[in-house]
Subunit: 190 residues, 2 copies
Amino acid sequence: MAVRPTDTKEEILRLGTEFIQTYGYNAFSYADISKELHIKNAAVHYHFPGKEDLLAGIIDQYILRYRELAKTFANPGISSKHKLQSIISRYSALCDQGRICLIGSVCADYNTLPDSVKARLTELIGLVLGMVEKVLREGKKKGELQFTETARVKSMLLMTNLAAGVQLARITGQKDYTAICNSILKQLVV
Amino acid sequence: MAVRPTDTKEEILRLGTEFIQTYGYNAFSYADISKELHIKNAAVHYHFPGKEDLLAGIIDQYILRYRELAKTFANPGISSKHKLQSIISRYSALCDQGRICLIGSVCADYNTLPDSVKARLTELIGLVLGMVEKVLREGKKKGELQFTETARVKSMLLMTNLAAGVQLARITGQKDYTAICNSILKQLVV
DNA sequence: ATACATACTTACTAATCAGTAAGTATTTCC
DNA sequence: GGAAATACTTACTGATTAGTAAGTATGTAT
């Protein structure tokens, strides 16, 4: 068949991400993906032999995307406030879709994952925290952002607020997430 | 057999909690529980007919415990700082055991849960946030704690730091969690 | 044109999952 | 001592799980 050469692989990655963010890693099956894409489960296994290969692929995709974003953020022309809001808006988008942060979702099942996936997850988190840390440090230096903690600790405080904020919002409602974001910006932006 | 009348039910609740915090709700089975307790899986079904009944039981147990803690916290003799540290130490204990917050873990699988469990989860979160909010408001009034946000928003910021902090710590190491806690206390305690 | 790689489908399998019906031992109440 | 409730075990079931081996259609390079 193969109407479009390799779109299927991209679609599997997209759906897998959606399922993890919506239902959790151990709550969806290859059958869920194959039904949605109108293919057979063996087709999913063709692209990703095991479920952990799919998760590894999804995390790898995230790593590439965040490397790209980090590159974009290297541009000093973009204001630190704008970069900060760009990060926040990613979580707001998740919230609007009733999804949660991929890392936060996978974290719940962390101890069921093979070492190769654990290593990728560690890399992804390091990448994200490092990027945010840089934005914060730069923003403070330029007088656009203010905080008393170290940039490293502040990046963790900020990202835990956002990650658990969307988790909270899914249960208690979006206005809680909005309140968190407003408070973060009020404290952080000069 | 029934050597000890109803210890089994308590043990199932205890193990279920441990599994959720360690591996995730959709990652453990009744077989895991029955093997560990050296009983048959039907015995687990006897106490909790369905897996969602077990989860409901676990959440109910948490609700009762937090109601007790809230009662203890009603004592004005205990300092607000001590109450705050008591809350933080609960999360530190999870961190030490390589576990994560029950709510945070279940949240990943939230959309796979029946409405009855969702409602219980909402109640539990309301209870915890309400309790923390009270501690913060009281602490500020007594001049023991300081923050510029509303007590409500600050309670959410604090709890999201702690909940996602233990999630983060399991992946990147405990020192990140320690840094978060130290920062929280430094900011909050007068 | 043909060989080969890609991208699947067909048709399974073995294991595990939650869940149940029926039987049994033990304790408790009267 | 008999009835009933409690706390299980035995012995299953049907559905779903991840995963595979073998076959097929389609495009590509020579």
